[in-house]
């Protein structure tokens, strides 16, 4: 794996995690500031979707962390 690919995978994961958080915070802010049923419905749906994806990303992060720890002979804390 090239240095470029490793760095790219790390920054991609960081980008994805932030994208989920952006969606959650962004829609939550709209829920707070807008009194509109259409916005409310869309916001709740998207927050739930983003939270589910965030959970998957966190699992992927832990899986790669464990893989790295195995490679270096360390046990994950």
């Amino acid at each position: 794996v090239s240095l470029d690919a490793e760095a790219d995978a790390r920054t991609r994961l960081r980008h994805d995690l932030h994208a989920r958080l952006t969606v959650i915070v962004g829609y939550a802010e709209l829920l707070r500031s807008r009194d509109d049923e259409r916005v409310r419905q869309q916001a709740v749906e998207r927050i739930l979707e983003a939270a589910e994806l965030l959970g998957r990303d966190i699992e992927a992060l832990f899986a790669s962390w464990e893989l790295l720890a195995e490679r270096s002979g360390d046990e994950p804390a």
Binding site: A7, L21, V23, E29
Partner: protein, 208 residues
Amino acid sequence: LEVERKLTETETTVLVVEDDAMVRGWLQLAFEGSEFRIVGEASSLAEAEELIERRRPAVLLVDYRLPDGVGTELVRVLRRRGVETPILLVTAAHEAGFNEAARAAGAQGSVLKTGRSEELLDGLRRVARGENAFDSRHPPRPPGQAALSPREREALVLVAAGETNRAIAAQLGVADETVKTMLARIYAKLGVRRRAEAVSAAHERGIL
């Protein structure tokens, strides 16, 4: 189907370059009621280049990390072509030296992607007015760490591709020792000690 609506005099057209469909959906909703009207959405650099020609937006909102490259690349390409549309770059996290890299590429501003729509709108308003709007949460490049020269950037691209010093020397047409010197200068400028750190730092700061 996209419903075409006539622009009002007070509306400012925006083209959004963002690969995450959920973020794009949020932006559509967040911009409702503001003076900004999204006239196009691109999810990659290639799509963006094509859409900008067709939609001619007043301002561009560009996510930094895209599937086929980084936002600063798009800025460089557009500036080389003579496109002067103000560009606000959006980044996931704060990085030391990012604003300097964005400015060097030709962008007018940067903003952290936090989900706060007012921060995005404020940045867009400022760049649309012709001002610079670089997010101060990106720490400045540490003293002593100058910008990479075009030649050093070229060498770093080859390092990132996994090339050896000898291969880099052959491709750049210089001696092996020159490559070593060049890499030492690059490390000093980026404040790193190893090849992997240099590649990682360059990615984070928008240099690569």
